[in-house]
Amino acid sequence: MEQVEITKGSDIGLHTQELTLNMGPQHPATHGVLRLFLELDGEVVKRCTPHVGYLHRGIEKLSESRAYPSVMPLTDRLDYISSMINNIGYCIAVERLMGIEPPPRAKYIRTLLAELTRISSHLLWLATHALDIGAMTVFLYCFREREQILGMFEDVIGARLTVSYPRIGGVRCDITDGFLEGVGRFIDEFPSRIVEYETLIDKNRIWLQRTKGIGVISGEEAVRWGLTGATLRGSGINYDVRKKMPYDAYDEIEFDVPLGQNGDVYDRYRCRMEEMRQSVRIIQQCIEKMPKGEVLSKDAPDLDMNPKGHKRLEPEMSLWSANVSFSNEYTTTPKGELYSAVEAPKGELGFYIVSDGTGRPYRMRVRSPSFVHAAAIPRLCQGHMIADVIAVIGTIDIVMGECDR
């Protein structure tokens, strides 16, 4: 794209001075409570400093005083748009720590629902990103489909947004065949919906002018900033946790990782649109391959796990034999440290858990993609106009719940 020539006041002999401007924390286009401190020369951004922490709830600290299963509902509130993947990421981290293997059906259910969540998250991203840039119709269409996905979550677990569906060692309840049919119907229809969104904005000249050549970052530099997810893949770097460190059923499922070339807002938009198509592919395979059987591992700790550790009982035995002795020994969690990552819609979501052998995490650190991406906003805004800051915030798909934790 050709750069627009901007006539500055100082060039024609007028007195000018830099303007400092606070964008946010109550700005509708900053996707929550992100505050950007902008230093402007006319309309051009000279410097940009993100201030985070307005949505800090101390989830990492809270988790230190709760047993492992009780931490899981807190992870819903990290990235509240894709709560299912947050739950799954946490559960996988704890499963790896405790050495529990979930049954195959649970793995497939998780994969299926994780991809549904990815679609719903990308739909919300597309809706708000397009709305910020000025395409209002897409916003309404995306919410139409997102509503169907939320309805499906409600059928499975009784909550639409903060699902708390997985459980350490499996999932909390099984899905029905009727649910799978419903997902199948949605998936059959959904690709035509993606085409609708693309009809509206893909070649639209306003959209192209607002997105092409904006927020350009090279692949090498993106890696150095620690960008992950579609924000990184838009620059042509092939890194996807689902491929590089497969979890759940991703190693048994075929899918491609869409890549961009130019690393601008438009390429990242294309990446995410293709990712939705790939998610549809994954869900189709999950429905076809869905195994029968249990959904919760026998080794899984109970929900009311004691903070000292978890007990492993043989419940059928203890009911019928009168002289069974309940052992008071707890199977403790192994001591040590562990990092485990999943591919959230925004990027690599990692959980770093330090265990001291009790039933509570000694320390839990969340490596949230939004926090890392927020640091790169000044780099992406460099030399752009103030309206492009909005496009940049949209393109990294920031969620402040996850950024501030």
């Binding site: 899981m72 119709t137 009784g158 903060t162 929900l303 009311d304």
Partner: protein, 197 residues
């Protein structure tokens, strides 16, 4: 730029295509619901307002004050007090839920060995008074009465009392048969409920 692109650009083809789509959608049936007048049906097992199950035989709550729900609660919004010596049945003296702090994860319903507590499908309980959503024991029982009054069945079961697909060996004895007979309701009440609905 090819000739074709030039024509597309000059004739606003991509914009016309978009407008054609919006016109098509404009002529279809709206997907929105006019909420207070129209309500969308809630799935069974929706995690809504709390209630304590009233035992149809005794007319009291089923809770045995085992404290499991208070222990597992991630937001620690359940307050329980009981009397009774060690080895004797406990008597519940206080059971309170602070609904403003609750995060509706449904853990309390899932761990309760007596199926005494439930998150009902009722979701409209906003109130002008803050006090209304601090649920004490009487209020929780009243919530249950209100909930079963709105039902059109003779028995009620919750998804989290006996989660689908979970090995029955993991569940305590009372949770294996997870259904409450709504005996308090006479047949006349029931038919009236159905008529009203």
């Amino acid at each position: 730029m090819t000739f074709r692109d030039l024509i597309n650009k000059a004739l606003f083809i991509e914009i016309l295509k978009g407008l054609a789509l919006t016109l098509k959608v404009f002529l279809t049936k709206p997907v929105t619901i006019k909420y207070p007048h129209e309500k969308r049906p809630v799935s069974s097992g929706f995690r809504g307002r709390h209630a304590m199950v009233r035992d149809p035989q005794t007319g009291k709550e089923l809770c045995v004050a085992c404290m499991k729900c208070a222990m597992v609660c991630p937001s620690q919004c359940i307050y329980i007090k009981y009397t009774g010596a060690e080895g004797e049945p406990r008597e519940l003296t206080k059971y309170e839920i602070e609904a403003y702090r609750c995060i509706y994860c449904g853990y309390c319903v899932e761990v309760c060995p007596m199926n005494a507590i439930v998150l009902t499908e009722h979701y409209e309980y906003a109130s002008y008074k803050r006090q209304d959503n601090y649920f004490d024991k009487e209020r929780l029982l009243k919530n249950w009465d209100e909930h079963i009054k709105s039902l059109k069945a003779t028995s009620y079961s919750n998804k989290f009392w006996k989660p689908l697909g979970i090995d029955i060996g993991r569940l305590p004895a009372n949770k294996r048969q997870a259904e409450v007979e709504l005996k308090g309701l006479s047949k006349d009440d029931l038919s009236q409920n159905i008529k009203e609905a």
